[in-house]
Amino acid sequence: MKQKLLLPALLIIFLGILFIFQPCLFARENKTGPEKTPFFSDLKRPAPAFDHPRHETGLSDKGCGICHHVLDKTLNKLVYAEGEEAACHQCHLKESSNTVPALREAGHEMCTGCHRNLIKEKKPAGPTTCGECHRK
């Protein structure tokens, strides 16, 4: 008798778990989802919001060159060119080429890398965890 009840009981527990969590399981299809940016055809995570003014004031002593760079082909180095500041996606595309990392790689490196360094220097820093940028 006990044995016969075990299987249905376990099934009910499993379905119960599924039921409790189903809003989050199927929520992604129902929602319109994160706004699609022109840089990615298919976003796997919500697009992070970037507060440019906040970074401008917070990092004013370090200058715009801390993020903005262009590739100097003769030196083969990244340099800051004043007046030539462009958005990341002008050079960093969806896929990486042999010299230019993809937008996702460059963004992760630039944002979390810098935040991590600031944490090491014990200065106020932005988030380094996934979900604090990619907010749902």
């Binding site: 969590f21 995570r45 820093a125 965890t129 749902k136």
Partner: protein, 217 residues
């Protein structure tokens, strides 16, 4: 220091160090005990031992598994999910890429969700099984229950962190920390079967097949 950075960086290294050093010590212990001349050795016939390893890996290939269809199905799926979901979860792969530069194909997030929920279900199943079935309860140690609880916590907090339900940072830190405790526990708990499964299975198979002339379970 930022607690997340601490858990993610140094503490992860500590847990992997414990895993490696502990594994080395326990394996060396095995080899030293293996030189004991009083131990009975199966004959130098590799067939039965390797057959036993293979049959142990195929679902329903042994009598033990066929006698317990429900347990076998749950355990096979549990092992698949618990191993594959963390390894092929998209966010984990991105972290691997950023640390070591490797990139591989990811599971879809929906699939990873279903696998995670199955792991949660299987943990409850195994917990109940350890409590209810007398012969399993008799050989259960405290650490066996602890492992199940930790796996449950690790997968649950991972799931909740991914869906950003509840407080995000504590959820993520608990997820990483409980997984690190699990990694460090591998050499010192029944998770040890991850490493020595082939050895014990080989020994049993060789012993049963070559010496006792019987199928092993």
């Amino acid at each position: 220091m930022d607690f997340y950075e601490f858990v993610r960086g140094p503490l992860a290294m500590v847990s992997f160090a414990i895993l490696m050093i502990g594994t080395c010590f326990r394996l060396i212990g095995f080899f030293i005990r293996g030189t004991n001349p009083k131990l009975l050795y199966p004959k130098e016939n590799l067939t039965h031992g390797f057959m036993s390893i293979a049959f142990g890996l195929i679902p329903f290939a042994t009598r033990f598994m066929r006698q317990r269809p429900l347990f076998t199905s749950v355990t096979v799926l549990f092992h698949l999910c618990a191993l594959l979901a963390p390894l092929f979860f998209f966010s984990h792969i991105v972290l691997w890429f950023e640390s070591y530069g490797f990139l591989w194909k990811a599971l879809s997030d929906g699939m990873a969700d279903i696998m995670t929920l199955f792991v949660l279900f299987a943990c409850i199943f195994f917990f109940v099984r350890r409590m209810v079935i007398p012969e399993v309860r008799m050989v259960s140690r405290t650490s066996d229950f602890l492992i199940l609880i930790l796996i449950f916590i690790s997968f649950l907090t991972g799931f909740l962190a991914f869906h950003q339900l509840g407080p995000y940072r504590p959820m993520l830190i608990t997820h990483i920390f409980s997984s690190e405790v699990l990694i460090a526990m591998i050499p010192f708990s029944r998770l040890w079967h991850m490493i020595v499964y082939p050895f014990s299975r080989y020994y049993m198979g060789a012993d049963f097949g070559t010496v006792l002339k019987a199928h092993d379970w």
